[in-house]
């Protein structure tokens, strides 16, 4: 392994790449995510020696090998648990978890639930390609019903989980979405995730060219993307469409969103819902939007920070010994009731 020490504080995206040859399939969406992460790290000025990238198993989990930071390629589904241990041991470290739909929502679903609920200060990037790639194409927990795969030759019958709805339901305080091919958007979302203290959950729709090519074509195709994607921004009305003439409003008398066209039937921008990142109820409505009736919501859907787990744990541990150095062990053994001396 070659060791390069860069003393210049201004690191370029390429400085976050390791010397290892990237071994994803040609055309895989992971390349774009890798590039976006390198770029986001350069933008935020991440220090490589303080950055740790943790992953589980799957195509996405190869990620750490392609980074010049610290990295730990662990076992299937368990990256959140290992990342929690890293943060508890050293809260100063900047820890990223790279996971997939199988790793993060199937075998590791329980850990994902708890790492989000605890609000451990991590950036969790879930590459959702709705398929098991590394094991050659079985359907995944996010696959749509009817997905034909080697293990479901007649089509899957079970209902998929929505990654963002799961994250919100688990108590995540930062939930965002982007697409592998929306490079600039993705970099921006990753920067926001990095800025958020606590567990940041980012779902990236990622195309698997070999086993599930075009799975997201219905809303990621360049033609028509303006009509199928809703890019949410805090404080701005929910508007989309090539002509920016469509929006979302609350159906009068119901807790649901509906698509309206501005200037039709007297609809004005004032009728539209204004995005509020801190509104969990709105976030639930936004992540549930699906084509063809609705656009897919992208961007920072929910961001409502609270103190992070490891910070609270350390504050409590520190408070227990406040104002004094770590006491002598002898004091512990000698001080409690029930000692006696034999002379």
């Amino acid at each position: 392994m070659t060791v390069t020490t860069i003393t210049d504080a201004e690191l370029q995206p390429k400085d976050y790449a390791s010397d290892q040859e990237v071994r994803w399939c040609p055309g895989c969406g992971d390349y774009a995510i890798l590039k976006a992460v390198h770029k986001a790290m350069a933008e935020v000025g991440a220090r490589r020696e303080r950055t740790v990238v943790v992953s589980g198993i799957g195509c996405a989990a190869r990620f750490p090998y392609y980074m010049s930071t610290y990295g730990f390629h662990t076992i299937h589904g368990r990256a959140p648990a290992i990342a929690t241990g890293i943060k508890l041991a050293n809260p100063e470290l900047d820890v990223w978890v790279m996971t997939g739909d199988g790793d993060g929502l199937s075998i590791g679903g329980n850990h994902m639930l708890h790492v989000l609920r605890r609000n451990v200060d991590l950036q969790i990037v879930l590459f959702n390609n709705e398929i098991y790639g590394l094991t050659k194409g079985q359907y995944s927990p996010t696959s749509r019903r009817g997905t034909k795969s080697p293990s479901t030759p007649r089509g899957s019958v079970d209902y998929p989980v929505s990654a963002c709805a799961f994250a919100l339901g688990s108590g995540a305080r930062f939930v965002a979405r982007s697409v592998d091919t929306l490079q600039a958007h993705l970099v921006g979302v990753l920067q926001r995730a990095h800025a958020h203290r606590g567990a940041s959950f980012v779902e990236v729709f990622q195309n698997c060219v070999v086993f599930n090519d075009g799975a997201f074509e219905n809303f990621t195709a360049k033609d028509g993307a303006a009509d199928t994607q809703l890019h949410v921004e805090h404080g701005k009305p929910l508007i989309f469409g090539a002509r920016r003439d469509r929006g979302l409003r609350l159906t009068p008398g119901k807790l649901e969103l509906e698509v309206v066209t501005l200037s039709e039937g007297g609809v004005t921008p004032a009728d539209l819902v204004v995005h509020d990142e801190t509104n969990r109820g709105l976030a639930h409505l936004l992540v549930a939007l699906e084509p063809p009736g609705f656009p897919v919501a992208l961007g920072v859907i929910y961001c409502n920070p609270a103190p992070s787990f490891e910070a609270l744990v350390h504050a409590q541990a520190g408070a227990a010994g406040a104002g004094r150095p770590t006491p002598d062990l002898a004091e512990l053994l000698m001080a409690k009731e029930g000692t006696w001396t034999v002379r």
Binding site: Y70, A81, I82, G85, A89, L93, L329, L332, K336
Partner: protein, 614 residues
């Protein structure tokens, strides 16, 4: 119970075994625990055996709800909880039903007459009242209406009858403290502190305790004879306290943390009987550098410990059998990435859920071999509650020096058993400071120390040492991913040689009792230490050329073990399992070792081993 009469008032005893037995809700564990403290303060050597059901509050009066606490104390070296009970305190018919079989002929049984109602007798399955049908003829029976005596004693406190009734255990404790001439000051202080928020409860409990004691003092007891004296045990000078295996492991881990010079221990666990107590014990000790983490499951607990180790802390996790099974894959990762880790397994009877509160030694093969692929690690076992302290320190030493997971085997018996412990001089404990890699020149993460074969430990946060590790096979020379066949063979060998090499860094196997050759070697490991020890002593006293060899190191074995065993005509291996160490010894050394196996969720009796030696 050896005895010599010293005065008409009190007889002298070398050692005594008392068992307190009652309903799960009768407070027998507390009663036994308090008797233990007072006995330790009186200077006796002792060993305890808390035996309680898995149900928190089984239906009252039933045999399966009986909770018992046994204490063996004496003026002599006490090493086991005792084969036979000298005094049985039975708080209800069910307790009598369950525990009478362990009372020695001529022993004393104290019963609460008030609890021997028709209803309770029926619940316990007695067709006739054993207090009246002559079935207790071979014992000395003290029939006392503890219930009524207690209610009378606490009348002034104004408690509701339910709460007043729950002071019975303190009355019984008071009587037993009188019977053996113990103080009750420490218990009075403890009650006042425990019930500081409810002074009427404190007052009632103290009143019951005093009443039980006074009952012994007064003429009311004379018809039953006498009190007893048990002299102080001859012990080395120093400061002592009682310690359970769990406490000793907790403190040993803290001592190990210091010895390694590490700032922080991350102790991650998931609630499981009987291991949870270690999590509870350490949770209160944040000031000493430990951060405890109650994870969402066993896998997450060991995962957090592995993550902590990667980040440069001491990672520790603790569990019991079924939880160990769940941690297996992560152990493989810690082996593949060569990270230090301590895993404490408080073994219990299995398979599966088995008998959660009962001790067994049946996870040995799992500890040594129970992982996919060739995945060696170090395995240690603690022999006694006090030994847990030293073994925990040793586990930390081996884990950090050899960059390996270490499994520390305890069990349900050791977890709760208490004994007196001379608090060691902490300044004289071993030191083994960790040296983190900081030098970038020539670094790769699988650079090995030529002597120990341990890889370099490089903490995230160190500039210039950024590296990636994982579960995929690594190239021996660069640390990069490698699928090369020869390299995999070389790495497999390196991992095995590293663990095997620990044998050069541990003490040679010694003989605990007897000589290093002879007719019979009785080879044990773990909590059977006391029973084997006494059995071998007894055998030697009877002229049998037996020796006791007790193993702390189970992987790797001490390097002289094979040669030592071959100097005996016969190798007997008592274990609380169906034969595990015996297999390892036979496989490793081709010695004709024979097993002596007990799987009843109970410790060995000295007599059971003594018989097998003959």
């Amino acid at each position: 119970m050896a005895s010599t009469t010293t005065s008409p008032a009190r007889e002298s005893r070398d050692s005594v075994v008392i068992r307190f037995a009652g309903d799960s809700g009768d407070g027998m564990q507390v009663t036994g625990g308090r008797f233990t403290i007072e006995t330790a303060l009186a200077g006796n050597d002792l060993t305890t055996f808390p035996d309680y059901p898995a149900e928190i509050r089984a239906p009252a009066g039933t045999t399966y709800g009986v909770s018992a606490f046994q204490i063996h104390f004496g003026a002599v070296d006490v090493m086991t909880p005792g084969d036979q009970v000298d005094v049985l305190v039975a708080m209800n018919p069910a307790a009598l039903k369950v525990d009478l079989k362990d009372l020695r002929v001529g022993g004393t049984v104290v019963v609460d007459l008030g609890a021997f109602t028709e209803r309770n007798l029926a619940k316990a399955g007695f067709k006739t009242n054993p207090l009246e049908d002559g079935s207790l003829a071979q014992y000395q029976v003290l029939k006392l209406d503890v219930t009524k005596l207690t209610l009378d004693a606490v009348k002034e406190s104004g408690l509701h009858s339910r709460e007043a009734h729950r002071c019975r255990n303190m009355w019984a404790l008071g009587l037993m403290l009188w019977m053996y001439g113990r103080d009750r000051e420490a218990t009075v202080g403890w009650l006042k502190q425990k019930f500081a928020g409810r002074p009427e409860l404190a007052q009632a409990n103290v009143a019951a305790l005093n009443a039980g004691h006074a009952y012994g003092e007064t003429a009311e007891m004379s018809e039953y004879g006498v009190g007893y004296t048990v002299r102080r045990a001859p012990v080395a000078a120093g400061v002592y306290r009682t310690v359970s295996g769990t406490e000793a492991i907790a403190w040993g881990l803290l001592a190990g943390l210091r010895a390694a010079g590490l700032e922080r221990m991350i102790f991650a666990g998931y609630p499981i009987t009987p291991a949870s107590v270690l999590l509870h014990t350490l949770a209160g000790l944040g000031r000493y550098g430990v951060i405890t983490f109650q994870a969402e499951d066993e896998i997450s607990a060991i995962g957090a410990a592995v993550g902590a180790a990667y980040a440069g802390a001491l990672g520790v996790t603790s569990t019991s059998g079924p939880g160990m099974a769940l941690k297996t894959e992560m152990l493989g990762l810690a082996i593949a990435t060569e990270l230090p880790l301590v895993v404490v397994n408080s073994q219990r009877a299995g398979p599966s859920t088995g008998m959660p509160t009962k001790a067994e030694q049946s996870d040995l093969l799992q500890a040594v071999h129970g992982r996919n692929a060739d995945a060696p690690l170090a395995v240690l076992a603690a022999a006694t509650a006090t030994d847990c302290f030293d073994v925990a320190i040793e586990a930390v030493r081996l884990a950090t020096k050899y960059m390996t997971p270490v499994i520390l085997l305890s069990d349900a018996f050791l977890a709760h058993a208490a004994e007196p412990w001379r608090i060691p001089d902490l300044d004289r404990l071993p030191r083994f400071p960790v040296r983190f890699r900081t030098e970038p020149a020539g670094f790769h993460p699988f650079l090995r120390d030529p002597e120990t074969l341990a890889r370099a430990w490089a903490r995230p946060g160190t500039p210039g040492l950024e590296h990636r590790i994982g579960g995929l096979e690594k190239d021996y020379d660069t640390g990069h991913i490698s699928y090369d066949p020869e390299n995999h063979a070389r790495m497999t060998r390196a991992r095995a040689e590293k663990i095997a090499g620990i044998a050069n860094d541990i003490p040679l196997q010694t003989v605990a009792v007897g000589t290093d050759h002879g007719a019979v070697a009785v080879v044990g490991w773990g909590s059977t230490y006391g029973a084997i020890h006494q059995a071998v002593r007894r055998a030697r006293h009877d002229g049998v050329d037996a020796s006791h060899i007790h193993l702390r190191y189970l992987s790797p074995f001490p390097r002289n073990l094979g040669e030592l065993l071959k100097r005996f005509d016969r190798v007997l291996v008592p274990e609380l399992n169906n034969g595990q160490l015996v297999q390892l010894l036979r496989a490793t050394y081709l010695v004709p070792a024979e097993g002596l196996n007990k799987v009843q969720g109970k410790p060995f009796k000295v007599s059971e081993i003594a018989e097998a030696i003959r």
